[in-house]
Symmetry: C2
Subunit: 264 residues, 2 copies
């Protein structure tokens, strides 16, 4: 007899061709594409419970989503079977799909991909080069003027810890009980005139929070905002005090944590 299982998927996706994660009528979305693939594959309606609704153009290295179904195949076979169905052959016999299942794990039936989430890690990629590379346009934020990476590193550290991040929230998000969040770690790596990455992990993120943090750090790297203002920006609890919102295509949802010990 086939038993219903609660399956947690780890998913990478290229967000360039999608209108974000969340299912929308008449728009290509990651959730919509994945649900319709899973539903035809398993011949029943599959509803995905995703951890994060990434915006249009945002990518994932390790997004998470769960679904309940009686599948009639071993859990470890799910990635291969779903990836074959996702394979994107409309672009030819060797084409790679924009969505890829990296892992499938069986979870307890009461596990919930979003409510049980203990934290997430995002990576933001900046190309600080004078030359424009047309081939990376959907995958990095191109900033041509040199950035003071050392100043950005110092400013980033001030964000670490528990703060009210209201200054780093765009309007238009879901109503929330509180705008207090904890950043476990934030790191800026790379060099002026090269490839720069901002890696930030926390217990939760407000709408556009990583993109506004990035935009603020870029403005500081250009000397438009003084490093000593970072604490004042936090204290102001006012979006207009922070920097610009960096574009979506440099942002990658890197990891989703379900256990406290996974947090880095």
């Amino acid at each position: 007899m086939c038993m219903e299982k609660n399956i947690l998927l780890t998913i990478a996706y290229d967000g360039a061709d999608f209108s974000g994660w969340q299912r929308q009528p008449d728009k290509p979305t990651v959730q919509g594409h994945l649900e319709s693939t899973l539903s035809s594959l398993f011949k029943k309606e599959i509803i995905l419970n995703g951890t994060s609704r990434t915006d249009a153009g945002v990518h994932a290295l390790g997004a998470r989503a769960s679904f309940k179904a009686e599948l009639g195949l071993p859990t470890e076979k799910i990635p291969m079977v779903v990836n074959n169905a996702l394979c994107g052959r409309e672009k030819g016999p060797f084409a790679i799909a924009p969505i890829r299942i990296l892992d499938a794990a069986e979870m307890p039936m009461d596990f919930h991909a979003r409510f049980d989430c203990k934290g997430k890690k995002y990576i933001y990629k900046i190309s600080n080069t004078k030359e424009v590379d047309v081939f990376s346009r959907n995958y990095v934020y191109h900033v041509d003027r040199p950035l003071d990476v050392e100043a950005m590193k110092q400013c980033a550290m001030i964000l670490k810890g528990t703060h009210d991040f209201k200054s780093f929230e765009s309007s238009g998000g879901n109503p929330r009980e509180t705008t207090v969040r904890t950043i476990f770690d934030i790191e800026v790596t790379g060099t002026t005139g090269g490839q720069i990455e901002i890696s930030v992990s926390g217990d939760g993120f407000l709408y556009n929070m990583v993109r506004i943090i990035t935009g603020t750090l870029v403005d500081m790297g250009h000397g438009k905002i003084a490093p000593e203002d970072m604490m004042n920006i936090i204290k102001a609890e006012d979006r207009t005090k922070a920097g610009h919102t960096a574009p979506p295509y440099g942002l990658y949802l890197a990891e989703v944590y379900y256990d406290d010990f996974e947090r880095r």
Copy 2:
């Protein structure tokens, strides 16, 4: 008084979102997009004379196209002005356009970008990794089984020189006087299980020639075709004797030569 000039553009483009170079009604093409941008910018109809009609999905690092017009601005300002007009702001204020003008040069009035072309260089990119990278799916040919790169290097050398390359031509190209072409140089670089590049320069290329050369070398790298068969494949003058046609998205038009001494 403003004089008509013959301007030669050097152009990079990401072919992922285009149905190839050549203008087509109701399809996004590089020529179509560039001509309409130039025409609105210079307020007159601009017709581009391109060197190569790349297929859908094929990229360019240094394509060439010329046009004649009275412009009323110095030639050296053309790249900046056209790039600003091409900037692709529909994807947001920081977006990079898929087409970029790298250079503009004033040529004699009787210069013709295609007829005066003395040769071209293409690069074909292969990712020979077990892991599939969703972010490079439009930019490399992913081959998961290990390739014998040393065998590919040896086989490639046999193609160098002047041969009838009929075995390496897809049907559907334009009628040609001869299928004899000269490959100036061909080089395979990279390692088994890593990133591999095939670089090939010649006086001209038949329809899909570089993609069939690549597919044949991949089949040899997998042991499906023996290296000693390469000369027989050339001599057969029969497409069915060569290997598969590698997909378009790994191919880059790298350089266009107008002087014999530029050839490498």
